[in-house]
Amino acid sequence: MTRNKLYSLLLIACLAGFIYLFYNICTLQSQTFRVCIIKNVTGYACPSCGTTRAVTLLLDGKITESLLLNPFGIVVAIAMTIFPFWVLIDIILKKESFFRMYKKAETIIRKPWLASILILLALLNWIWNIYKHL
């Protein structure tokens, strides 16, 4: 993974995310179109089902409701606001501070004890999602 590849991938992903969010806000009441394959195939929610709804709730200022719907929403919202700016500043100033942070974060997350805690949290969130019938 090189710096430029990571940056272009992140910018494309964030742009796609913003377009999808905008589309979702514009057609808020007609929730007929779903993208999640797991949900469409099995009928059960996946760990990140409801993230879009959580982010839209966050945009309305309802932080508690957003947390109760899916805590992933806040993580995604923070990433989507901070990462594009950081990447753009890096590109303009021709630095690679974000790339170095990404590499460091990868090695930290890969530590067994931290990885198992995070996996457990994701699994618990999944169980909660299924329980909530998202």
Partner: protein
């Protein structure tokens, strides 16, 4: 290193690398000292086919990316439901190449 040993390594391990890597690997191995043969023989590479199977089954949750060591992208895939389902499908086609690139990284970390 002995050309015969290098050819043996290339024959058994060619499937783990991209075609354009093979020449560089061969030349690197030929230039290595004979004492490195033990290390070369015990190197472990990830099977591209296995990661493809994992990608087909658990790509939505980013498990394929976690498995090959792309932790950051795995987290991204998990949080966004496989990149809204699109990234998961794209990765069915990219994951084998990504695994081979990771294997090349392992090789480079050991010998360069």
């Amino acid at each position: 290193m002995d050309a015969q040993k290098v050819d043996m390594f290339m024959m058994t391990n060619a499937k783990y690398f991209e075609g354009h890597h093979l020449n560089a690997i061969r030349e690197k191995l030929l230039s290595l000292d004979e004492s490195k043969w033990g290390l070369v023989q015990t190197m472990q590479f990830k099977e591209p086919t296995t990661s493809l199977i994992v990608s087909l089954l658990g790509g939505q949750l980013g498990i394929d990316r976690f498995m090959i060591g792309d932790t950051g992208m795995g987290v991204g895939k998990l949080l966004t439901c496989g990149g809204l389902g699109i990234w998961a499908i794209i990765d069915w086609f990219l994951i084998m190449g990504a695994t081979r690139e990771k294997n090349m990284e392992t090789f480079q970390n050991a010998f360069y």
